[in-house]
Assembly symmetry: C2
Homo-oligomer: 351 residues x 2
């Protein structure tokens, strides 16, 4: 992976050699990427291409039956496009999606108004924008292996006077079907280490933001055991914010793959599978009712809905009034979803 | 059923004899119902109780294995309550929900603003309201039997000067997994006959409204083959509007039960079942992303979410980039979902 470090740290040209390691050709043509090698738009595009390829290859390596990702490179008539990679019906992964998109165009007045309402100082009206991001949801087959989601994105908006506003956003979070405290701690510890290299305040702040965001409000439950989530990050400098986002994205594999390897051959039965399907129903509820990215995506005219909805599980279930038996393993998970935990014992530390 | 006609046509007292035919005791106490027998709130409550009971009994009669509805009567601390009846995992019905609710309380300023935005002339701020409705979604097991949904409701809002605004809303629509033109025509014809008794303009207007409302916009597909849908009906008089809504609700059984009886023993295989599950995924998309009632319900503090989400199928499926084979039975359905049909040949008639 040494060949790629350069994209992150310096502004190195896109080469055919790099291209061969990606899942498909980048969206932006080679000449433009090369001539803008110091521009964050080009750097982010090459970086998310690498994150996508590394993660897809790491997941494929777990599929002993040889399942591989199907790769769709698509373009958008309004500007830009994306690469959607989906592995469906594997032995280990029931449905795994890893998507990158690099899009530009004009933000609608409604979208601008929504950004202003969350505190962005933007002029009203239509504004040119650029967005590049990687997002992924992995639904494993074995109920003892958790689902992971992550998304890292870079956004630019240009105002009438030509000035650019930019920011990063993203996060990584885990949704187990059965609680394994050691797994949750490993996951949070890996994310914390990625954060701590940049700012000791990031992990506690973004851990709480994650618990608050992935909230299935009508049920009073979190989607899973959390992780980190942040948005509108434009400090301390563009370079440092990019390095932080890079550290987070690079922490995905070490946070998650050990859990896949540890549990992918665990024994389970009909009961555990049914519970997994019910929890996947809750996952669908969050994504379709509350998730800002999904809603923003689906309400965008000409959106590639297949790339947005690849986050949905292959199968989900809804039973009327289902409640786990008190004291059961299922009830133990539900308890944690209702009362998010301080996995790394940091609150005690603060006293 | 003669004993019930009285509720619809006159303001007759609620009696114990009537109660025994309902799924549970009404939400409003017997004394209040009796003393308000000419008030639309009491009349609508008794009417939806009867619609619920009649429909549940008609569905149970199709279940040769003896499956019956589970009945939950619930109350709401803010005022009112409901009766939720669900039959799950039957031989004929995989998941069937029939809910009534009779609630009162104070509309939030946001809810009032939303009503004003769709043209209601209401003062701003919090306003006392009353709502009574029946709603139902039936997901059969056999893919040759369509899913039906219906909802009929009465709403009252009281302004500061004591004046009352009232209106009715509702509709019935059909979602087949395989297109059977004869079934669609029977369904639409039954609804048209119910409409025509009251106003010849209703069916064409409410049929189009239904096609426009049940639109999975991001896919450019309707949820099913339509039916009727209307809202804010406050003409020509309260009595006549109630009689129209009664006719619609009473048309549910004759529009749908013949289709269940005709197809519940049709042969099908793995392929048809998988297609049914994929279409149920689309049903979930509509209900969680677009349906106004579901959103209004779930965003209401203290909502009984189990009664709202009983509309979701027992199982649903999402495959990345699934598309039916050109020329297949599945493609034939999709074609109709993209281009709603004039089932009764009325457009030709108008020329």
């Amino acid at each position: 992976t040494a060949a790629y470090v350069s994209y992150k740290t310096y502004g190195v040209a896109y080469t055919k050699a790099a291209s061969n390691k990606f899942m498909a050709d980048p969206i932006t043509d080679q000449k433009t990427l090369n001539s803008n090698r110091n521009d964050m738009k080009a750097r982010m595009e090459l970086f998310i291409m690498k994150v996508q390829a590394d993660f897809c290859r790491a997941l494929e390596a777990e599929e002993e039956g040889g399942a591989v990702f199907k790769v769709d490179r698509w373009t958008r008539k309004e500007g830009g496009g994306g690469i959607t990679c989906v592995l469906q019906d594997g032995e280990v992964f029931e449905k795994a999606g890893v998507n990158i998109s690099v899009v530009s165009g004009t933000l609608s007045p409604q979208a601008v108004a929504q950004m202003r309402s969350r505190g962005k100082k933007l002029q009203e009206g239509e504004l040119p924008f650029f967005a590049a991001g990687v997002s992924s949801v992995i639904h494993p087959r074995n109920p003892m292996v958790p689902t992971i989601h992550f998304n890292y994105r870079y956004f630019e908006i240009q105002e009438d006077d030509g000035s650019i506003q930019w920011w990063f956003g993203g996060g990584t979070d885990l949704t187990p079907y059965y609680l394994n405290e050691e797994d949750s701690k490993h996951f949070h510890k890996t994310l914390k280490e990625a954060c701590d290299k940049h700012n000791k305040g990031y992990y506690p702040k973004f851990k709480k933001w994650c618990d608050d965001y992935f909230h299935v409000a009508h049920r009073g439950e979190r989607r899973g055991v959390g992780g980190i989530f942040f948005d509108d990050l434009d400090t301390p400098t563009q370079e440092q914010a990019f390095r932080f986002v890079s550290s987070c994205a690079e922490a995905v594999i070490p946070s998650y793959l050990p859990l896949v390897q540890k549990h992918k051959k665990d024994a389970y039965g009909y009961h555990e599978r049914q519970w997994q399907l019910l929890r996947r129903g809750r996952y669908v509820e969050f994504n379709l009712i509350y998730d800002r990215g999904t809603k923003f995506g689906l309400y965008t005219p000409g959106a590639r809905y297949e790339s947005i909805l690849m986050s949905l599980p292959l199968t989900a279930r809804w039973e009327y009034m289902h409640a786990p038996q008190p004291g059961s393993k299922e009830a133990k998970l539900t308890e944690v979803l209702r009362n998010p935990r301080d996995w790394l014992g940091l609150e005690g530390e603060a006293h």
